[in-house]
């Protein structure tokens, strides 16, 4: 068959089921040489599953799978790599105990006389790292760098395979604006070299900027396709959720009440040289913007007592409090929906019920006895008010989509009626529908007088949701922006430490 006439990659009728779940119900997809194809869909639509099949990580149950017109079947990752297909996973997959060079070349180490050729590996790694704009020594341990930078290492790793098809599954979910821009450069550069990219993202703005074509999945089936000129927000949303969504950030103006949280010269463990001061009031939604690694997560964790402060004062409703652990934080009315939902937010192998009631168990218990009625009520309230999609309360949290998992996290905290809600990247990896619901919820809670402090790396989100925002840069608060001062440019200047321009 003639190579140029048939698509580089073509799948059709692909089916895949997991115990109890039919993840793909006969989807199809094709990819041309030098094309950036965006793949979008709600959480659980089957995007990652398809990509894992393409990359040889999992076998398909049935379906037709061709590369350059030739029927192929991949038994493992190496088969896929041989055909030039490389996948950057949704979850990070670096080995924290190995250095960057070792991670980039893991599984494909250059060898000399049977031994690993370290010098060659280092040389090449430097090249690939600089391509993704990462200036770190190649012998840095992967575990010692922040998530965002790890993501860039993953991309460098994929580049180093000389892939013809590069699959990126939500690559920007933990990248900051600046790193995202670097990534876009990389992707555009690849396209110009004739490399094809499959790009999965929930950030429709990115899709619009990058994609030559968009394929949409819904419930494990193809829901439609958009050519470059048809790609716009509304069209994508319509195909994804099957209906139109009204105004995304439907904000009201809040009138802040008394201050709930006020920090004075708080010192966080990683940047003790930069004392932090800020304030959040009743009914106010305050954003914290900044680049990845700016110390925003740690700020929230310090407030919540996960990493206790080294100094400074923290006041809740005007009273100085010492918070040494999450328990103390909860007892003064603080709740945190953490950045790493699976590690910190939930106990994945436990049920929706057990997760929803975990923080409130002790409050509802009498002398340590489980109060099963209260537990059921808490769960019921969470599922109802959050509109959590679950077959029943006993479903394992692991089997729910990202959006629904995040809703459980929020639900379990709302049962505690906190005064102050801390949200760390509340919509990371969450589809548009769920995102919108979370924004609505934030609105509603603020309207009821709750103080909300949220960290976000998505510019749109900060611009859209915040009444006021702090911007962080390398561990310090580089500026505070009121509603009218909020603009993309102002945030970027502060976030990159360009204080003069701000």
């Amino acid at each position: 068959m003639d190579e140029s006439s048939s698509p580089l990659l073509e799948v059709s009728g692909l089916r895949k089921s997991f115990p109890g779940v039919l993840a793909l119900r006969g989807v199809s997809l094709h990819l041309q040489k030098g094309e950036v194809l965006a793949l979008i869909g709600e959480n659980g639509a089957g995007k990652s599953t398809l990509m894992k099949i393409l990359a040889g990580v999992q076998p398909a149950d049935e379906g037709d799978f061709r590369v350059s017109g030739k029927k192929v079947s991949f038994r493992n990752v190496n088969d896929a790599m041989d055909k030039g297909i490389a996948l950057i996973h949704q979850e990070l997959n670096l080995c924290g105990n190995l250095d960057l060079a070792a991670n980039v070349f893991l599984g494909r180490e250059p060898t000399k006389a049977g031994l690993i050729d370290e010098s060659e590996m280092r040389r090449q790694t430097e090249k690939f790292l600089s391509q993704v704009g990462l200036n770190l020594p190649v012998d840095t341990l992967a575990g010692s760098i922040p998530i965002g930078k790890q993501q860039l290492v993953e991309i460098a790793k994929a580049l180093s395979c000389n892939a013809r098809v590069l699959i990126m599954d939500e690559p920007t979910s933990s990248l900051s604006q600046k790193e995202t821009e670097t990534l876009f450069e990389v992707v555009k550069n690849l396209r110009s070299k004739g490399i094809s990219v499959i790009y999965i993202s929930h950030r429709l703005g990115e899709v619009k900027e990058l994609a030559d074509r968009v394929t949409v999945f819904r419930d494990g089936e193809n829901a439609g396709e958009l050519m470059q000129d048809q790609i716009d927000h509304d069209n994508m949303v319509k195909l994804m959720v099957g209906r139109e969504l009204s105004e995304f950030y439907d904000r009201q103006v809040h009138n802040p009440g008394k201050p709930v949280l006020s920090l004075k010269d708080l010192r966080c463990p990683s940047y003790p040289q930069h004392p932090l001061s800020l304030e959040v009031s009743e009914g106010e939604i305050v954003g914290v913007a900044g680049l990845v690694g700016a110390g925003r997560t740690e700020l929230l964790q310090t407030i919540f007592g996960v990493t206790p402060a080294l100094g400074g004062s923290l006041e809740i409703s005007g009273e100085a409090k010492e918070i040494r652990n999450p328990r103390a934080a909860i007892s003064v009315g603080i709740a945190l929906a953490p950045e790493d939902r699976k590690q910190h937010g939930l106990v994945l192998p436990m049920s929706v019920r057990e997760n929803s009631s975990l923080p409130s168990l002790q409050r509802d218990a009498s002398r340590g006895w489980l109060n099963e009625n209260a537990e059921r009520t808490v769960t019921q309230n969470a599922v109802k008010s959050m509109k959590i999609k679950t077959p029943n309360y006993e479903q394992m949290a692991r089997f729910l989509s990202g959006g629904n998992q995040q809703k459980i996290v929020l639900g379990k905290w709302l049962a505690m009626s906190p005064k102050l809600l801390l949200l760390d990247e509340p919509t990371r990896g969450i589809d548009v529908g769920a995102k919108r619901e979370i924004y609505k919820l934030m609105e509603k809670l603020a309207g009821e007088g709750m103080a909300i402090l949220f960290v976000s790396s998505e510019m749109e989100e900060v611009l859209g949701m915040a009444d006021r925002a702090y911007v962080m840069h390398e561990g310090q608060i580089s500026g505070e922006l009121s509603r009218d001062q909020l603009s993309e440019k102002a945030i970027m200047n502060l976030a990159t430490g360009n204080l003069a321009a701000a």
Partner: protein
């Protein structure tokens, strides 16, 4: 819950029936009493270690704790002539203290449970030998012993911990009552109190549990304290059952039996899983295997081998059964 213990229950019944067919004397009341007695004794330790395994930890020191506790109890009762109930109290406090020490080393000094309890295994064994100059000792005092004045009370304890209660023609060994009470308590604790829920939660995801405002360190310490306490109770039961304690030997390898029973009974060494009923049945299975080997008349040189094979096949079979059940449920859904 129920399907979790199905596999191990089938195993129990199978070995039971096979042995009874080969040697009908297996079924006589005396043998059943002994089987119940030994199963109860080992089940106490297995239950204890289950708490720790549920949190994702391990305790290798159980056997040495059994040894040390029975040594200390014997010294207090026989040589020191201490008030018998105080002696019991001291041994329980000792085992609580050991558990607390383990818990603190694991949570505060951040030493891995395997290492802490491996060192415990060595240290407590050594202490027992040192305390007795490595001479055998038992809890029952003889005329020349200081404890002889408390003989009656000690005999009372002996009945409590290793006596038999006549139920018609069947003599129920008292350890069976202990395991009954302890396993109900353990089941209620694990399934009906918030602490039990916390143990399961932290076994599945420690960080996540801590982020939900639970003092995971304290809960882990609790698990190790319970484990050592149960080992201590087992030590008392063993001391009275055997009337004889070899400081260098008593309890040797028991941690492995206990862990094997916990695993065979459905606890996952990864943490977050486990059922009291399963563990108790599994402890009974292990004792049953020993008894069957003797009743059938197989060479004692093969005992270990058969036990090892049954545990391995039991665990594999159980896994297989669970998968089959899951597949069936999945098939029903679609």
């Amino acid at each position: 819950m129920k399907k979790n213990v199905l596999g191990i229950f089938i195993l129990l019944v199978a070995i039971f029936v096979i042995t009874a067919v080969i040697n009908p004397k297996f079924l006589n009341a005396y043998n059943m009493q002994n089987l119940i007695k030994w199963s109860s004794l080992y089940a106490v330790m297995s239950l204890g270690v289950a708490f720790v395994i549920i949190t994702g930890g391990i305790d290798l020191s159980i056997g040495s704790v059994v040894g040390l506790v029975s040594v200390v109890l014997s010294i207090c009762l026989k040589l020191e002539g201490m008030d018998p109930w105080s002696a019991i109290g001291i041994t329980l406090v000792l085992s609580l203290g050991i558990g607390l020490l383990h818990g603190l080393l694991i949570t505060k000094a951040k030493v891995q449970p395997f290492v802490v309890t491996l060192c415990g295994l060595l240290v407590y064994r050594s202490m027992g030998r040192w305390l007795t100059d490595n001479q055998s000792i038992g809890p029952m005092p003889y005329e020349e012993d200081a404890g002889y004045k408390n003989l009656e009370q000690i005999q009372g304890l002996d009945f409590l911990f290793s006596g038999k209660i006549a139920l018609g023609s069947f003599n129920l060994p008292t350890p069976a009552l202990f395991i009954l009470v302890l396993s109900i308590a353990a089941a209620v604790f694990l399934r009906r109190t918030i602490w039990g829920r916390y143990l399961f939660a932290l076994g599945n995801n420690e960080e996540g549990t801590r982020y939900s405002g639970i003092d995971t360190d304290r809960m882990k310490i609790l698990a190790y304290v319970l484990c050592s306490l149960f080992a201590g109770i087992a030590g008392i039961l063993f001391a009275f059952e055997l009337d004889s304690v070899q400081p260098a030997q008593t309890g040797e390898f028991y941690e492995l039996y206990a862990i094997a029973a916990a695993v065979l009974g459905g606890c996952s060494l990864r943490g977050g899983e486990g059922s009291v009923l399963g563990v108790v049945i599994a402890a009974a299975v292990i004792r049953l295997i020993y008894n069957s080997i003797n009743m059938v008349g197989i060479s004692t040189h093969l005992e270990f081998g058969i036990l090892g094979l049954v545990i391995l096949l039991g665990v594999i079979g159980d896994e297989f059964l669970k998968k089959a059940v899951a597949r069936k449920q999945a098939a029903q859904k679609t």
